[in-house]
């Protein structure tokens, strides 16, 4: 009897292994067929930041449900870093005509791209309703939906809590290359460039990622900002723009002692933005200066 039970158990285990192997093979075949059809994995891109800004460690994504194969995710992920931002033009929920600045302003803007019918956006709408959206740096928060011809204002009025600034603008979705909703883009107002973008499961999560990305809460509310003379601020903005026009952002190697001539294609720099050429001191002269002291 014992021998019979042992044999039955062995046969059962063998059969179970066989079935598991068949299922695995079937899954592999399906996966390959999907790849052959040109299918892509429909999941939102994670929150990421521009080079030089510390990348957030926490995982983001998996919150969206409007990430279809035709949503252009690949295009958004492959987007050029430090992509220029755009000012917004659109309509409010009550037909108000809106023009909002995100470029060449002192504040950052947090653009939250949402939709009324997207299940992944529900959490975002609920959190917006609480009025407690602690974004790092005190950036201005704007919800951007598609235009009234693509999104129902009546439905949006139902889901959008009062006091939330909504701009209905399909052009903004196109300008920023938004792949789907929910999606968040952080615009650096002074440089006029995108400094963080991606998706997440909630505003709190994205807020946390932004706080990490901004680096140790340097701009967190409550932290006293350095008050500078207007001339200094304008000069800094001019210098930042000239550097950005030359393709130099935070973390660029040329800022850490590398020879700029090796790193920058000066033909790409507009003539008006070129900095005056300064002859590099010869190494021996430099040594001589240090050794000889005053001449």
């Amino acid at each position: 009897m014992t021998v019979l039970i042992a044999v039955q158990t062995v046969v059962l285990i063998v059969l179970a292994v066989l079935v598991a192997g068949l299922l695995r093979a079937y899954a592999t075949v399906l996966q390959r067929l999907h790849a052959l059809d040109g299918g892509e994995t429909a999941s939102p891109p994670p929150f990421r930041t521009v080079p030089g800004v510390p990348a957030p460690a926490a995982d983001a994504g998996s919150g969206g449900d409007q990430w279809g194969a035709d949503s252009g995710i690949a295009g958004a992920v492959a987007r050029q870093e430090w992509a220029p931002a755009h000012d917004l033009r659109g309509e409010g929920l009550t037909g108000e005509i809106i023009s909002v600045r995100t470029v060449s302003v002192e504040h950052d803007t947090v653009l939250v791209f949402l939709s009324a019918g997207c299940a992944g956006c529900t959490v975002f709408w609920e959190q917006l309703a609480t009025g407690r959206v602690p974004f790092a740096g005190g950036g201005r928060v704007l919800v951007v939906t598609k235009s009234p011809d693509e999104e129902s204002p009546a439905l949006l009025r139902q889901v959008c809590p009062p006091g939330v600034d909504v701009v209905m603008s399909s052009a903004a979705w196109s300008d920023f290359g938004v792949p789907g909703s929910p999606y968040v883009i952080v615009v650096d107002g002074r440089s006029g460039r995108i400094k963080g973008e991606g998706s997440g499961t909630s505003l709190e999560q994205i807020s946390g990622l932004m706080q990490q990305a901004y680096g140790d809460g340097a701009d967190l509310p409550g932290r006293r900002r350095v008050v500078k003379p207007r001339g200094d601020v304008e000069r800094e903005v001019d210098v930042d723009r000239a550097l950005l026009a030359a393709g130099i952002g935070p973390g660029h190697p040329s800022l850490y002692g590398a020879d700029p001539g090796d790193l920058i294609d000066m033909s790409q720099v507009p003539a008006g933005r070129r900095l005056p050429t300064v002859a590099a001191p010869h190494a021996a002269d430099a040594v001589g200066d240090q050794a000889g002291g005053q001449r």
Binding site: D87, R89, G92, T94, G95, E96, I97, I98, S99, V100, R101, S104, V105, H107, R140, P162, G163, V164, D165, V166
Partner: protein, 174 residues
Amino acid sequence: MTPPSISGHGFTVDLPAAWEGRIYRRNVPEIAFSPDSRARVATAEGATSGWLGENPGAVVHLANFPLPVDRGDYGSGAVETMGPSDVFLAILEFGQECLGTALYSSLGLPRVRAERFDPNGLQRRIAGQAGVQYFFTVQSRPLCLYVVLGSYRNAVPLAAKANKVLDRMKVNAA
């Protein structure tokens, strides 16, 4: 790159750098005023925007600072957030019954003068700020221009900023 502009309800403005704007016209009120309806509206979510019989005109808000979503026609809700270098500008359209009256007899879009600004010219006094109001008519539209400066001390440069915007504004017939 062409400067951003905003256009609607017969107003067009090419916005200077850092300026943004909003143009709207409130819905025609459908609730007749009565003590009961006022009490009902007061307890309901969201205040009413007028009473039956009112014919709301277009309102233009322009500012060189972020305009909040909840604003009164004369900028309440926005002016409280202004800094010393900020300017808020509102143009409000009034009904045709005002056309030809003495208050609106001035023709054409005015330009503001720094010496006209007064802390007492504000809808509600806010420390450091100053305001001014002009009434005029353009294209048979009776209009009011209300400008608030974030700093009375900087009235001259801030008034110049306001005039720069007014230079870029066109008003068409409604």
